[in-house]
């Protein structure tokens, strides 16, 4: 059986779901960030799979993947800055400790 678009999409779905579970179950804020990275990588695999298997997206898939990678770098930098700030204020990285805004 030849490797086709479906294989890569299912692989992307698996990565997406692991990222989702990671985001939902980790209590360490950096662990949540790792889940976000997994989800973004799953999206990138989908973009590049469509770039490979659909002629009209040959360049677009790569352009969007590049954009997502840059966005992910920016997002990681901001998120870690926030986590460090939170750690300075609470001496904890447990997301359950962030409850100032709880109603």
């Amino acid at each position: 059986m030849n490797i086709g678009l479906t294989h890569y999409l299912i692989l992307g779905a698996v990565l997406f779901v692991t990222g989702l579970v990671c985001m939902a179950s980790k209590r360490n804020a950096i662990g949540v960030l790792m889940g976000v990275e997994l989800v973004l990588n799953a999206a990138n695999i989908n973009f590049l799979a469509f770039a490979r298997y659909n002629q009209t997206f040959a360049i677009e898939g790569m352009v969007f993947t590049l954009f997502v990678i840059v966005m992910a770098a920016a997002e990681a930098a901001i998120a870690l800055a926030i986590v460090l700030n939170f750690y300075n204020n609470h001496v904890s990285v447990d997301v359950d400790a962030a409850e100032e805004l709880r109603g």
Binding site: E60, V70, L80
Partner: protein, 199 residues
């Protein structure tokens, strides 16, 4: 089974396994190491998909940049009990149930969709003509249409009807966005001690 198929199954299985281990690892340091393998595996998949430039970018930016950032975050905040905060079993169960439902939904949708009308990109199969980095760069600076296959026509007649689109403007916005975000991150993460002394 040819080489491409073999590589897809091996790299794909390793990537999925390490991704699952990222979610399952109790210690945050171990999760970071598993994330390293996942990101490297994803870059291998990019190479398999014919995006050689993006595979290199993935290795440099993700494995070399973001992961180092994450590991620094772990090191700066790893205080004894914080490295392995236990998640209650009930929350694990809920997230696993939601995860499997989502996976089932996605896989069902993918399998139910027919992609037969798509024509694969053939230019990647020919190593002599595949220059993904060149094409990508020309589209990003607006020299080449995204829909033109093959080498760029640099002597384009001005005023000729263009069919595809270029990505100059998003590229510029992205650059400015990255600068703003990095300055903001440096501002947020800086040490605040000096200000207290002044006040």
């Amino acid at each position: 089974m040819d080489l491409a198929e073999f590589l897809f199954w091996t790299v794909g299985a390793l990537t999925c396994l390490s991704a699952v281990m990222v979610a399952a690892a109790q210690s945050i340091v171990r999760a970071a190491v598993w994330l390293l393998f996942t990101l490297a595996g994803v870059s291998g998949l990019y190479f398999l998909l014919g995006a050689d430039f993006l595979g290199a970018v993935q290795l440099i930016v993700y494995v070399g940049g973001i992961l180092i950032l994450v590991i620094f975050g772990v090191m700066l905040t790893a205080q004894g009990p914080l490295t392995s905060i236990k998640t209650p079993a009930g929350e694990w169960a809920i997230s696993l149930v939601v995860g499997f439902l989502m996976l089932g939904l996605l896989v069902a949708c993918i399998l139910a969709t027919s992609f037969d009308t798509f024509k694969p990109t053939t230019i990647i199969d020919d190593p002599a003509r595949a220059r993904t980095a060149t094409d990508l760069g020309l589209v990003l600076v607006g020299v080449k249409d995204s829909q033109v296959q093959g080498p760029a026509d640099l002597n384009q007649v001005p005023g000729r009807q263009r069919e595809g689109i270029t990505y100059v403007f998003p590229f510029e916005i992205l650059s400015v966005h990255l600068v703003v975000v990095l300055i903001g991150a440096a501002y947020l993460a800086r040490a605040k001690r000096r200000r207290k002394e002044q006040a």
